[in-house]
Amino acid sequence: MSAHPEKFKLSEWIFTTDHKRIGIMYLIGSIAAFCVAGLMAILIRIEQSSLGPTLASDAITAGDQYNQWLYFHGAAMILGFLIPGLTGFAANYFLPLMIGARDVAFPRINALSVWLFLSGIFVALLGFVIPDAPDIMWTGYPPYSLLTGGNTAFYVFTVHLLGFASILGAVNFLVTVIYMRAPGMGWNQLSMFVWSTVTAFVIQLVFVPVLAAAVTMLLFDKYLGTHFFDPSAGGDVLLYQNLFWFYSHPAVYVILLPALGILYEIVATFSKNPIFNYKAAVYGGMWGVVLISGEVWVHHLYVSGMPNWIRIGQMISTLLISLPVGLLAVSLFGTLYRGAITFELPMKYAISCLFLFLVGGLTGIPLALTALTLHLSETSFVHAHFHYIMGIFAAFSVFAGVYYWFPKMTGKMYDEKLGTIGFWLNFIGVNLTFIPLFKIGVEGMPRRYWNYEMFPQFEIWHMVALFGALFILSGMSLTIFNWVYSAWKGEISIDNPWRSKSLEWTHTVNPPGPGNFLKDVEVSSDWTPYDYGK
């Protein structure tokens, strides 16, 4: 039963205001950013795999191109893949379905935000063809970003475009959830993914403007002659770092929360269990994260020369993040208890995410302690930590989500065997890449270094990390091939292959047509999306 019998027409996609198509466009855009940024990562790993310049003949060229790869890898992965991948793709496609709505509250604004997002990706990619590519890392710290010959404006405009897309998305989805839930659907009956998106968008709405202000001041300083960050004219370089991380730490939770939301859906479905301690996870866990998210940014400035007292204060608030995150962990792991667990591909990814979540989350604890960061800060240990929790954990949850909802989005079934090989290559690859980085980080290997002639003992571990990266490259190639090929030629899927109880599976066809539901959805007061009954 296909709801889109018509042939593919490009104009229909360009002018679409349908939340499902917009979700697919977010997915394609963010996976494109992921692919390009992923190739940068491979180049970075090759460059680091031997002591001297590996992909260049001299140190200056090596330094220049390495810094450009680092900039693009960081900016594109975070701003182009993780944030839009987790708040754009699944939220657009599935949030309205999960609450029984026929579309979002403002479909045209939704179309505007996806086009702003795609323009942001386009501007970021233009960085490759201009002669003065940005080389300022994804953080863009002044004074370097002001003095460099690299094009800081491209960075600023990318942030602006993606930021506006995000703010519009936030307004849209909050209004949608507040006003467009199916009749009878109370707050305690929402899917975990819906709650995670709501909390993530509350954070976006509050904090994105601060980032927009920070980068705009950077733009003014560099091109209009203001002196916000110039100490010789009364400015202060630390101001930027404070403003930047005031958004960019909460941004980590904008990624973490929807990633957890997707995992909750998958773990509940493949355990055939309700969420363990739902209210504690939602009101204590997710809203607790929102509450604390804005009081911990100084842990990114532990060695930046901030006053001693605030480093202690924010050490305590940073440690306290473990309270809501701990509640979420108890609830997520507890959902497995006495389940009827099956291990299809989405669940394989979800289980590996539990592991990545533990490694990434727990290695955050030493980094919360100011005294320990005086050694660990700016080393490979930090690099490995945030890759585990923010990079790989979040990316794996996106992949888990794509596999989980693949039959819903395409009407076809992915290839389980190919997907499983891809999964194991990815999982082995990420651990092979980042466990060595934990080790050499504790021993003092600095981040963002292509040249480590002062620490020649680390060469072997960089080689191991390169092997890991090549595993990931082959795993991701199989994964993306699987998606494209199966969407095109895969077997037709049955309606609800996972026997989920959530509205997007029980009340719509694969894939849902315009208007989503064949007739209006109404739910009873004892309905929940996890009612497997027994």
Partner: protein, 247 residues
């Protein structure tokens, strides 16, 4: 009874152990070495991580084995939490995490105070970051540095046994003084002065690396840090002053 005795014994052992650690981390003249504080805290945190990760990991693995679906249409059998159980499953974990947080915060604060309390007899060295080299200036005005291309220059030379405090600033962009051997790190920036201190306890040669991104030669901005006996240090300082006068 046996339990009680074991507990007493454990408490006693704990007391002895903690005072032994306190003694070991304090050198003869009462100066606490940040490196010892760091290692001590790091070990404690690692134990903490392994215990917490172990509990969650072991439970997950056990459940994943035990609760596999018996038939294709099986559904889960999760117990329905009563109101009291739901509150307990929120408050008890919260209490455990909070206790752990406060414990770590107290430990971390103690170590932090060691790091930020500069001993009174510390030797002061002025450090200036430049794109892309380090400049070290001693109390008598003598300077030292290091050229990455020619590998000429002594870098930062310090006497063994004397605490060294670095007063740091930058001439251009952000830099960061990362000295892994002594477990210290702090940014340098134009317009502000930052500080760190460390205690070279024995002769050793290591490297300071710039660890805040500063441009094309960021990863080539390093210099040797040599801790040498204090007599030799005095000789070196005189020699270096003479060289400088000639330059």
């Amino acid at each position: 009874m046996i339990m009680k005795r074991m507990l007493t014994a454990l408490t006693g052992m704990g007391l002895v152990l903690s005072s032994a650690i306190a003694w070991a981390t304090e050198s003869a003249d009462g100066i606490k070495d940040p490196v010892d504080s760091w290692e001590h805290l790091w070990t404690e945190v690692l134990i903490d991580l392994y215990i917490m990760g172990g509990i969650f990991g072991a439970l997950a693995i056990y459940w994943l084995f035990k609760y596999q679906a018996k038939s294709p249409d099986a559904v889960g059998d999760a117990p329905k939490l009563t109101r009291a159980q739901a509150w307990s499953w929120a408050l008890v974990p919260l209490f455990i995490f909070l206790a752990d947080d406060l414990y770590l915060a107290a430990k971390g604060w103690t170590a932090w105070n060691v790091y930020r309390t500069v001993p009174e007899n510390a030797m002061e060295v002025k450090v200036t970051g430049n794109m892309w080299y380090w400049e070290f200036e001693y109390e008598d005005g003598t300077t030292s540095g290091f050229d990455v291309d020619s590998k000429e220059g002594d870098g930062l030379v310090v006497p063994v046994g004397t605490p060294v405090v670095l007063r740091m600033t930058s001439n251009d962009v952000l830099h960061s003084f990362g000295l892994a051997k002594y477990r210290v790190k702090e940014d340098l920036m134009p317009g502000r002065i930052t500080y760190i201190w460390f205690l070279p306890k024995e002769e050793a040669e290591s490297y300071v690396t710039c660890v805040e991104f500063c441009g094309v030669n960021h990863s080539r901005m390093f210099a040797p840090v040599k801790a040498i006996p204090s007599e030799k240090f005095e000789e070196w300082l005189v020699k270096r002053a003479k060289e400088e006068a000639e330059e």
